[in-house]
Amino acid sequence: MISFSHYLRIWLASARYSLVRATMFRGDLFIWASVELLWISVNVIMVAVIYSHTPTVAGWSLYEMLILVGTSMLIQRFLMGFFWSGIFEMGRNVRNGMFDFVLAQPGDPLFMASTRKLELDGLLNSVVAAALIIYSARKLGLHPGFADLALYAFMIGCGVVIHYSALVMAMSLSFWITSSQGVEGSYFTVMEFSRLPREALKGAAGLIFVWIIPAVVVSNAPARQILHGFDPSWTLGLCAATAAWFALAVLMFRSGLRRYTSASS
């Protein structure tokens, strides 16, 4: 049984390697950090333009909406920073047999595949997303206590796990189909719904993106925690969704791994 400290040491070594790599290619780091910043700005401008013509959207004011959008971005930046590169490369590595390299490493294949690289640009921009949330909370006159912030951080962690699971499931398709190019698009499409307030989703869309795929819950639950305080139904719903999606992702990855036949797969 490999211990937690063993995994922590592996992760720290990967993180150190990623940091060295990022500082070697500073131009790249600058470009990609600008890309992320610009996409955050695009979303904020969209919200600002809509609210310049209407005071509320689905009962949410401008700064409430910015907290929601900021929360959604924060989760996505963490995913980009900690896991994106590793999971994204998984599809390509499965196709060309390079996944052997991951299997030969001393640890769980899913952990080894998804934590190989840290992307500094995504992590840098999580500061921008956090600043947006803090600015909006100040504008609303919110003063969350330590327990509120701790619960918010926990819910953000749950959100990252759900995003991680969705992406692992999407990329695990490479074990079954020869070309998973563009599959990551399905992740981005589904997660677009996470920038919508729960109240905006009605009918079939509400059923699918709130209850079946927790895209809306991922961002709405922590945002509501900051805005309105602890709500057991949202918190428990998020925890249940996190456990279910992570279990599904691990199951799908392992079942795909059994089909992997090295370079000839």
Partner: protein, 265 residues
């Protein structure tokens, strides 16, 4: 058949191979349209008009923007061009009496015929859901001016993608530049919000930029967001940008060739 006609036919065949990619993209498009419908539907709740436009007009605008993207948008031409340069495939064009810009434009036209067909198919699927919310004007002049506007938009989109692809003469990886420009184009091209909802001062500046003519302008003509005078003036500015960008593309190509070392060809 001319050599560029042949390139068009070969482009059609190779793009039909990727019909599933276009099919999947159509599905993503439909999901994105659902997000637009939910978000703007919530913004319009209690507001009969935003910026002087009804919900039906705004939704029609977004539907037209999406269909236009399938017919005249540059998807991955920049990537294909950069791959030609990086892999040395461009060398074969240097030894033959073929204009690379015209060759790539022919392949781009073929790809848009295929993706446009899938866009129309997606529209037919989406129409029963959105028909009650669409509001297309029927003025003949809108079609008469909209068609040349769309043709010029295609040239602008292609030329920008072509220039970005040629950056591979100087840089190993151009993906950062491409996604950076995509964020700017998405916002200033009117794909996130209709540009006429921006503050008037900002709109007056943006209308002189090439991005304005990448999507917003033809959509604004076709969906009745702008009148005849604006359309005529806009066509003149758009023609200038199309001419300028084609010249720029030629200039970048010539400068790039001076850097090219034909390794690996």
């Amino acid at each position: 058949m001319t050599k560029y006609g042949q390139a068009f036919v070969v482009g059609l065949q190779s793009n039909l191979v990727y019909r599933w990619n276009f099919g999947v993209r159509s599905l993503f498009w439909f999901c994105h349209l659902v997000v637009v419908y939910l978000l703007w539907g919530a913004a319009y709740a209690g507001n009969p008009s935003i910026g002087g436009y009804s919900f039906a007009q705004t939704l029609t605008y977004f539907v037209v923007i999406f269909v236009l993207q399938f017919f005249i948008g540059a998807f991955n031409e920049d990537y294909q061009i950069s791959e030609d340069i990086r892999n040395g495939l461009i060398n074969q064009f240097l030894l033959k009496p073929i204009n690379y810009f015209a060759y790539r434009l022919s392949v781009f036209a073929a790809a848009r015929v295929v993706s446009g067909a899938f866009g129309l198919l997606a529209l037919l699927v989406a129409l029963p859901f959105f028909r009650g919310y669409l509001d297309m004007p029927h003025d003949a002049w809108r079609i008469a001016l909209g068609i040349p506007a769309m043709a010029l938009t295609a040239i602008i989109q292609f030329s920008i993608a072509y220039c970005f692809g040629l950056l591979a003469f100087w840089f190993l990886d151009i993906q950062g530049f491409v996604i950076l420009s995509m964020a700017v184009e998405t916002l200033l091209g009117g794909q996130v919000v209709p540009l006429d909802l921006l503050p008037q001062g900002v709109f007056n500046v943006v209308r002189f930029l090439p991005f304005f003519y990448q999507a917003y302008f033809p959509a604004a003509i076709l969906t009745g967001r702008k009148g005849l005078d604006f359309a005529v003036q806009g066509l003149a500015i758009q023609a200038f940008w199309a001419f300028f960008l084609v010249c720029l593309a030629e200039g970048v190509w010539r400068r790039g060739l001076r850097h090219h070392t034909a390794a690996g060809g």
